[in-house]
Symmetry: C2
Subunit: 212 residues, 2 copies
């Protein structure tokens, strides 16, 4: 199964949730394709990796399909999340409403600066990095988000791995090395901007080539 299938499932799920709200209770792959910009065959293929969810000649029940997708994605229950770094970015993330809406609960915020311990990031008390192992175990945290400066990121990742975490989302501009049973995803602001920079620099040339 392509890795991109998972990201698309998230997109279908969001679209279905909106349709549910609009009171539309049946939808075809073609209609859903129109709304998401994803090819209808692609959508059916993506679903086919996991089972059969529609009725031939009819389509899909929006709420039923969404429930199935959420189950596939492991979103049929809450996930407890830790944020590491109580600086601007950590604060922004811990206050991000989208997290709770998608049932990701910020259950701990860590910072290595002990002067921050005991302060609050939104409603969550900041803990010292010494406590990572204890807090992760006690709270049942399974996902960590790294929001520290590049220099600190690798040390933080090691601490998180040592605490038993298997899923890390990294916002620090650093290349982290983790054991292969740990799933690491990177969000790299600079690479995003460099893509835009390339586009701005080359769009005229590309347009010319396309027209030629």
């Amino acid at each position: 199964m392509p890795a991109a299938t998972i990201s698309r499932l998230s997109i279908y799920s969001r679209c279905l949730a909106q349709l549910e709200i609009s009171g539309i209770d049946t939808i075809s792959s073609h209609e859903l394709a129109d709304r998401t910009g994803i090819n209808p065959a692609q959508m059916r293929k993506d679903l086919s990796y996991f089972g059969q969810f529609g009725k031939r000649g009819v389509g899909y029940k929006t709420s039923e399909l969404n429930k199935n997708i959420l189950k596939i994605l492991g979103l049929d229950h809450e996930w407890k999340v830790a944020i590491v770094g109580a600086g601007n970015l950590g604060s922004a993330l811990s206050g991000y409403r989208g997290l709770k809406e998608h049932r990701f609960i910020v259950s701990a915020v860590f910072d290595s600066d002990k002067s921050k311990t005991g302060r609050y990031c939104g409603t969550v008390r900041v803990s010292s990095m010494d406590e990572v192992k204890d807090v992760v175990a006690r709270e049942g945290i399974e996902i960590a988000i790294i929001a520290v400066p590049a220099e600190a990121a690798h040390w933080v990742a090691n601490q998180l791995v040592a605490a038993g975490l298997k899923a890390i989302l990294n916002f620090a501009p650093a290349t982290l090395i983790v054991p292969e049973d740990v799933k690491l995803r990177n969000v790299d602001l600079s690479i995003e901007l460099e893509n835009l920079s390339y586009f701005l620099t080359n769009k005229d040339r590309e347009a010319t080539v396309e027209n030629a």
Copy 2:
């Protein structure tokens, strides 16, 4: 040319910059592959879309190759960036050191909440959304980063397009529609987390399938 080539160029560039610092002035595609985890043929192919930068039998001059890549990416000069949203996320982004290091200069911060106008986000004065067009033109801003809540994102995107911006990086959890000459890239925290959720939910099953 694959879109992924551009992201890989960013990675090569970073690796080359490190090598320069280490005083290594020549490198082969194979060595660079070892350091980046990217296949050496891939790297040579990526470069081949843009020209010939190496010497057969020898390799690449690190500083020369990096200069060429930076030129290709449009990183041989500064880019002025506007951040929209002076909340937690906007503040975090405008204080992000990586931006200046990569020659992205935060030249304006906008917020539609006029009570914030005149405050400072780091060293940058917060402007009202009414001023977008003027400030963008005056400062020569070409890239905008959206860091507002989902509800406001589409209105903001419209304002930015109206102000003539052609490159937008969107952190808001909303699907934006922009004219096709505008390059839009999305950073979606929830999709990242949902990928991790899928992994945590299914890794045992997958491991079993692979072993079977």
